[in-house]
C-alpha cells in the first residue's frame, strides 16, 4: 500500500527505510488488501498530515473509533471488498478464539476450576462432581458465562479467529492454553515469569454460525475477511498476508524453527456466544516465549513467500 504523496508518505518511507525498519510502517507499506477508496479515506481524513509516531497512534485510534469500533465495522462492508475471504470456505469448519475470563469469573463469583469442570460436564467429558448439581444447573452457569462474554465491549470490534485445522494436538494437550497462545500469536496473554495464571476459555464455533449471525446485521456485506493493517490497533506480532493467501496467518510466538505449518486466521463480526461454544476452560501459566520480534517477523515473512510463491512480498523498502 503506497501512501499518497505528502508528509505522511515521506515520514512513513523514512521510518521503513531506516537501519531498523519500524514494524508498523512496514506493515502499512506491504499491505496488499486495502482498497484504494479505503486507503484514501484513511489518509485524507486521519493520517495524511502525520509525521510522528505519537500523532500516528492518535490518528489511527481516531480512525478505529470512527470506522472500526462501531456496531458494523467497515471491515465487513463493501469498502473492504479486497480483503474478503474466498467464498469457497467450507462453512462446516470450526473457528477458534481465546477469551480471557478474569472479569467474568469475578462477576459470576466462581473460581476457574468450577467453570472448567462445568465445561467438561457440559461436553460429556466428565460427570458432575456433586450429586445435587444437575446438568441443567451447569448449563445455566455456562449460559451466564456466555452472556457475560457477549457483553464484553471489546467484542464489538472485529474478532480475530483461527481456523481449527492444524491445531488438534494443541487443543487436546494438557497445557493447551499455553500452546494455543503461542501458536495463535497472542503475545498479550502473558502472565510473565512470576505473575498469576491468566484464566481463559477456548471458544470453538462453526463458520456457519458466524455467517448466520452476520445475516442479522444488514450492514454486514462480508462476514469473513482477511485481517489488514487498518482493522485493529498496531501490533508487532501481526503481519499482513500476501493477496494470494487464502487467509491471514497467525505469527507463531515459538517461531518457524519448530517446523509447524501456518495457522489461518480471519476476522469476523461479533457473534453471540452460546454455552456450546465454550470448548475448554483453563489457564495460561507460562510466560510467553522470549522472542526477538525482528527475527520472528523475518522468518514469518520468509515462510509466507514460500507458501504463496511471492518472493517479492514483504520487502518494505521495495514496497516503498
Amino acid at each position: 500500500m503506497r501512501p499518497a504523496a505528502g508528509p505522511f508518505s515521506r515520514w512513513l518511507l523514512h521510518l521503513a527505510g531506516g537501519k531498523t525498519p519500524d514494524v508498523h510502517a512496514c506493515n502499512y507499506l506491504i499491505e496488499e488488501r486495502v482498497q484504494p477508496a479505503r486507503q484514501s479515506r484513511y489518509e485524507t481524513d486521519y493520517a495524511g498530515s502525520v509525521t510522528g509516531m505519537d500523532a500516528w497512534l492518535e490518528a489511527h485510534s481516531d480512525y478505529l473509533t470512527d470506522r472500526i469500533y462501531q456496531p458494523c465495522p467497515e471491515t465487513f462492508t463493501a469498502i473492504n471488498g479486497d480483503a474478503v475471504h474466498s467464498p469457497q470456505l467450507d462453512t462446516s469448519l470450526h473457528l477458534l478464539r481465546i477469551e480471557r475470563l478474569d472479569p467474568a469469573l469475578a462477576e459470576l463469583g466462581l473460581p476457574l476450576d468450577h467453570i472448567a469442570h462445568a465445561v467438561e460436564v457440559f461436553h460429556n467429558r466428565a460427570q458432575p462432581r456433586d450429586p445435587h448439581v444437575t446438568r441443567d444447573d451447569i448449563q445455566a452457569t455456562l449460559k451466564k458465562l456466555a452472556q457475560i462474554l457477549n457483553k464484553n465491549p471489546f467484542s464489538q470490534r472485529p474478532r480475530f479467529a483461527a481456523l481449527e485445522s492444524g491445531l488438534a494436538d494443541e487443543m487436546e494437550a494438557n497445557d493447551w492454553a499455553n500452546r494455543l497462545r503461542n501458536r495463535l500469536g497472542l503475545a498479550h496473554h502473558d502472565p510473565g515469569v512470576a505473575g498469576p495464571p491468566i484464566p481463559v476459555a477456548l471458544m470453538r464455533y462453526p463458520v456457519q454460525s458466524v455467517i448466520g449471525y452476520a445475516k442479522t446485521v444488514p450492514e454486514v456485506k462480508h462476514p469473513l475477511t482477511v485481517p489488514t493493517v487498518l482493522d485493529h490497533a498496531f501490533c508487532e506480532v501481526f503481519c499482513p498476508a500476501p493477496k494470494e493467501a487464502l487467509y491471514g496467518r497467525t505469527m507463531d510466538l515459538e517461531g518457524i524453527a519448530t517446523g509447524r505449518g501456518f495457522i489461518g486466521e480471519l476476522l469476523h463480526p461479533r457473534i453471540e456466544y452460546a454455552p456450546g461454544h465454550i470448548y475448554k476452560v483453563g489457564a495460561i501459566t507460562d510466560a510467553r516465549p522470549r522472542y526477538d520480534s525482528k527475527e520472528l517477523r523475518e522468518l514469518h515473512i520468509l515462510l509466507l513467500r514460500e507458501e504463496t510463491e511471492r518472493h517479492d512480498f514483504g520487502h518494505c523498502d521495495q514496497a516503498a
Partner: protein, 716 residues
C-alpha cells in the same frame, strides 16, 4: 520490551496513563491487550512506588474523565468513552489499588447516578461496570445495602438485568461464611424476582436460580432452610417466582410446597399501632423533641428491617406518614425522611410530595416547584403530584398553567375528586362560575357539594343552591360549612356579593399552597435544615431539577398555545446544552423546527425510544414502524400505542396487539404499566382516538421514557 512506555510513565505518569487508557500508547507485545490487562501485566510485579504512582494517576484520570460534559463525551465517541472508563474501573479492583478503591467506595452512589444513562446496547454498559467495581471493592457492605437492594430491583427490567450478579454479590459481601453469603445472594434473587411475572420471566428466574445452585453445591435440606425464611416473608407469599421454584425443585419440603410455613421469618415491628400512637400524641402534645426522637427510633428500626429483608414498604410509608405530620414544624427533618424514602423507592409519589412540601415550608417554593415538575415527569400516573404542582402554580399566579394542568389531570383521573374540586375552585376564581357549576354538578363528595352550593350562591342561582344544601346537609354534617352556606343564602344579594368576593379576590390566604408552619427552635430544626438543604449533593440535584423543570414548564406553555415563550425556554436550554435530549424531545413534540433538530441529533441517541417516538407521526411508514420494533421489542406496546394514535383506523394489527397487552398481568409493584393498561384500554374503547386524551397520554409516555442524563440521580 515496554520500557519506553514505562520510562514515559516515570517522567509523566498522568500523560502516559492517559495514552495507555486511550489505546494510543506503543506497548510492544501488549498492543492487543485491553487497558486493564495491559496494566495488570505492566504493574503486576511492580514495586510499591510504581504501584502508588499508578494508583494516584488512575484515580486522577477517572476523576478528570468524570468531569467531561455530555457534549465532550459524545464528540469523543460514547462507545469509546464507556469502554475506556469501564477499563479504568476494572483496573482498580483487579489490581487492588487502595487509593482509587477508597475513592470509588466514597463516590459509588454519585458514580452510579452519573453512569446510569451511559448504556448503548448490546455491549456498552457503564452502570454494569460501576456495579461490578462496587461489588468487588466496597468493604463497608452494610452501608450500601439499600443500594444493592435497589439495584436488584432495578435489574428486574431486562435492560438492567446485567446488574443483578454484582448487586447480589454486593448484598452478600459482608457475609462471614458461606451460609450467610448464600442467604445474601438468595435475598437479592428474591428482590429481583418480585418484579417478574410472565413466561419469559420464568426462564430468566430459573436460569439465575440454577446458576446459584451450581455455584454453591449443597443438598436439598440446605436450600430448604435458606428458602424457608425468604418464602415466608410477606412480599413473597404470592409472588409468581415462588410457584416457579416449587414446580422445579421437588426437594423443597411439603410445608413450603403447601405454603403452610412457620418459624424463622423475621419479625416485623408492630408498625401500624406504633404509628397510630405517635400520630395521636402529635395531635395531643404537638411536635416535641421526645416525640421526634421516638419517630426517629421507629424509622431506624424499620430501616434495619428493610436492610435485613429488603422489604422497605414499611420504612417508606412510615417516613412519608411521619414526615407529613412534622413537615410544618420541622421541615428539614421531613426533607431528610423524604430523601430516605426516595433512596429506597424512587418512584414513590408520596415521598416526592413530602420533599416538595418540606422545601415549600423551608421557604423554597421555587425549589419545590422544580421537584414537582420532575416528579410528575417521572411518575405521570400520580394524581397527587399534578394536583400539588397546580397549587404551587396557582400560588405564584400562574393561573392559566394551573388550570391546564388540572384539566389534563382530570382527563387522566376522571374520578379523582380533589382534581375536580381544585379545578372548580380555580374556575370560580377566574369568574367562570357556570363552568365551575357544570364541572361540579352531580358529584356527591363533601367538598364538591359544598363548593357547588357556594358557587351557585355566587352565581345568584339561589333555588338550586338551596337544593344542593339540602343534599349536603343530608349526607354530611359539617356544622361550620352548613352555617356559612345558610347565612349566605339568607343574606340574598349581600350573600352573593360575599361569595363572589370569596372566590375572586386575590387574597393570598386563599391561594396558599398549604398553610405555613412555625418551626420550633427547640427542635434544632435549623441545624437539620442546614444539613439537608446545604448539602452539595442536594443542591446539585435541585439545580438539575430546575433545568428539567424549565423544559417541562415549556411543554405546558406549548399546550397552552404560548409558543413564543415556550420556544424561548427550549432554545435557552439548548443554548446551554445543545443536545439535551429532554429539551429536544419536548420541542419536537410541538414544533417542526425542533423536530428537524432532533432528527439531526438522533444518531447520537441510538437507544432512546423517546427520540424515536418523538420523530414518528402520521406520515411514518409501516417499514419505519417495524424498524422500531426490533431494538425496542420490550416496549412494543408503546410503539403500538403511538402507531394507533397516529393511524387510528389504519393499523388493526397494532391495535389487536395493544389490546392483548392491556389484558396481560402487569409486573408486580409497577404502578405505571398498570395505569397505562387501564388508560389505554379506556382510550381504545373510544371511537375517536385523535382526541386530546390519547395524545396527552402518548406525550407523557414519551417524556417519561427520556433517560435524563447525568444530572438527575438514580438515588434521589
Amino acid at each position: 520490551m515496554t520500557l519506553a512506555w514505562l520510562d514515559r510513565f516515570h517522567q509523566s505518569p498522568d500523560e502516559a496513563l492517559n495514552r495507555l487508557m486511550r489505546g494510543t500508547a506503543l506497548l510492544p507485545g501488549l498492543e492487543r491487550a485491553t487497558p486493564s490487562n495491559a496494566l495488570c501485566n505492566l504493574f503486576g510485579q511492580a514495586d510499591a512506588e510504581d504501584r502508588f504512582r499508578l494508583d494516584e494517576a488512575l484515580q486522577k484520570w477517572l476523576q478528570q474523565r468524570r468531569e467531561m460534559t455530555l457534549e465532550q463525551r459524545r464528540a469523543y465517541g460514547l462507545p469509546r468513552f464507556i469502554t475506556e472508563y469501564g477499563e479504568g474501573l476494572t483496573a482498580i479492583w483487579r489490581m487492588s489499588l487502595p487509593n482509587a478503591g477508597r475513592w470509588l467506595e466514597d463516590n459509588l452512589l454519585d458514580l452510579m447516578e452519573w453512569a446510569w444513562p451511559m448504556r448503548l446496547p448490546p455491549v456498552w454498559d457503564l452502570p454494569r461496570q460501576v456495579a461490578l467495581a462496587g461489588a468487588q471493592l466496597v468493604t463497608n457492605g452494610n452501608a450500601f445495602r439499600f443500594f444493592w437492594i435497589r439495584l436488584c430491583r432495578e435489574a428486574a427490567d431486562p435492560q438492567h438485568e446485567d446488574l443483578l450478579d454484582s448487586a447480589m454479590n454486593g448484598l452478600a459481601s459482608p457475609a462471614s461464611n458461606d451460609k450467610q453469603k448464600v442467604q445474601g445472594i438468595l435475598k437479592g434473587l428474591t428482590l429481583w424476582a418480585e418484579g417478574l411475572s410472565g413466561d419469559e420471566d420464568r426462564e430468566r428466574f430459573l436460569l439465575q436460580w440454577r446458576h446459584i445452585k451450581a455455584r454453591f453445591p449443597n443438598p436439598p435440606p440446605f436450600w430448604r432452610d435458606r428458602w424457608h425464611e425468604l418464602l415466608t416473608q410477606r412480599q413473597n407469599q404470592e409472588a409468581p417466582f415462588r410457584h416457579w421454584l416449587i414446580e422445579t425443585e421437588r426437594g423443597l419440603d411439603n410445608r413450603l410446597r403447601d405454603g403452610n410455613v412457620t418459624g424463622a421469618a423475621i419479625r416485623l415491628p408492630y408498625v401500624k399501632p406504633a404509628i397510630e400512637k405517635l400520630l395521636q400524641r402529635a395531635g395531643e402534645e404537638g411536635i416535641t423533641r421526645p416525640l421526634v426522637n421516638e419517630m426517629l427510633q421507629l424509622l431506624r428500626t424499620l430501616e434495619a428491617y428493610a436492610d435485613q429483608t429488603g422489604d422497605c414498604d414499611f420504612l417508606v410509608r412510615s417516613a412519608c406518614n411521619l414526615g407529613a405530620v412534622v413537615v410544618r414544624e420541622i421541615p428539614g427533618q421531613a426533607l431528610e425522611w423524604a430523601g430516605k424514602a426516595l433512596s429506597w423507592r424512587p418512584a414513590n409519589p408520596y415521598a416526592w410530595d413530602l420533599r416538595g412540601r418540606a422545601l415549600y415550608q423551608l421557604d423554597r417554593a421555587d425549589l419545590a416547584e422544580w421537584v414537582y415538575w420532575e416528579a410528575m415527569r417521572r411518575i405521570p400516573e400520580s394524581a397527587i403530584l399534578r394536583l400539588q404542582l397546580s397549587r404551587l402554580l396557582r400560588e405564584r399566579g400562574a393561573l392559566e398553567e394551573a388550570k391546564r394542568l388540572l384539566e389534563v389531570g382530570l382527563k387522566l383521573h376522571p374520578n379523582h375528586h380533589p382534581h375536580r374540586n381544585e379545578l372548580g375552585r380555580l374556575l370560580a376564581h377566574l369568574g367562570h362560575f357556570s363552568n365551575a357549576i357544570d364541572l361540579l354538578s352531580g358529584q356527591t363528595d363533601e367538598i364538591s357539594l359544598y363548593l357547588l352550593c357556594h358557587i351557585l350562591i355566587a352565581e345568584g342561582r339561589f333555588p338550586e343552591a338551596r337544593g344542593v344544601l339540602v343534599d349536603y346537609r343530608a349526607q354530611h354534617d359539617n356544622a361550620d360549612n352548613i352555617a356559612l352556606l345558610t347565612r349566605l343564602l339568607d343574606a340574598g344579594a349581600a350573600g352573593q356579593r360575599e361569595a363572589i368576593r370569596h372566590f375572586t379576590s386575590d387574597d393570598q390566604q386563599n391561594f396558599r399552597f398549604e398553610p405555613r408552619g412555625r418551626p420550633d427552635a427547640t427542635l434544632q430544626e435549623s441545624e437539620i435544615a442546614l444539613r439537608t438543604t446545604g448539602h452539595d449533593r442536594e443542591n446539585r440535584v435541585l439545580a438539575a431539577m430546575r433545568e428539567i423543570g424549565e423544559v417541562a414548564y415549556a411543554d405546558l406553555l406549548f399546550q397552552l398555545g404560548r409558543w413564543p415563550e415556550a420556544e424561548e425556554k427550549i432554545a435557552q436550554r439548548l443554548q446551554q446544552h445543545d443536545d439535551d435530549e429532554f429539551a429536544l424531545v419536548v420541542g419536537a413534540l410541538h414544533r417542526d423546527s425542533f423536530r428537524d433538530r432532533l432528527r439531526r441529533n438522533a444518531d447520537a441517541l441510538p437507544d432512546s425510544l423517546a427520540v424515536k417516538l418523538a420523530l414518528t407521526g402520521e406520515t411514518t411508514s409501516p417499514e419505519e414502524w417495524e424498524a422500531l420494533e426490533k431494538p425496542f421489542a420490550r416496549q412494543r406496546h408503546l410503539i403500538d400505542f403511538a402507531r394507533v394514535v397516529y393511524l387510528p383506523t389504519g393499523d388493526a394489527a397494532a391495535r389487536k396487539r395493544l389490546l392483548h397487552w392491556t389484558e396481560t398481568r402487569p409486573v408486580a409493584e409497577a404502578p405505571y404499566p398498570t395505569f397505562l393498561k387501564q388508560r389505554i384500554r379506556d382510550i381504545l374503547k373510544c371511537s375517536d382516538l385523535r382526541d386530546d386524551q390519547a395524545l396527552i397520554l402518548l406525550h407523557d409516555i414519551i417524556k417519561q421514557s427520556v433517560e435524563i442524563n447525568d444530572t438527575i440521580p438514580m438515588v434521589a
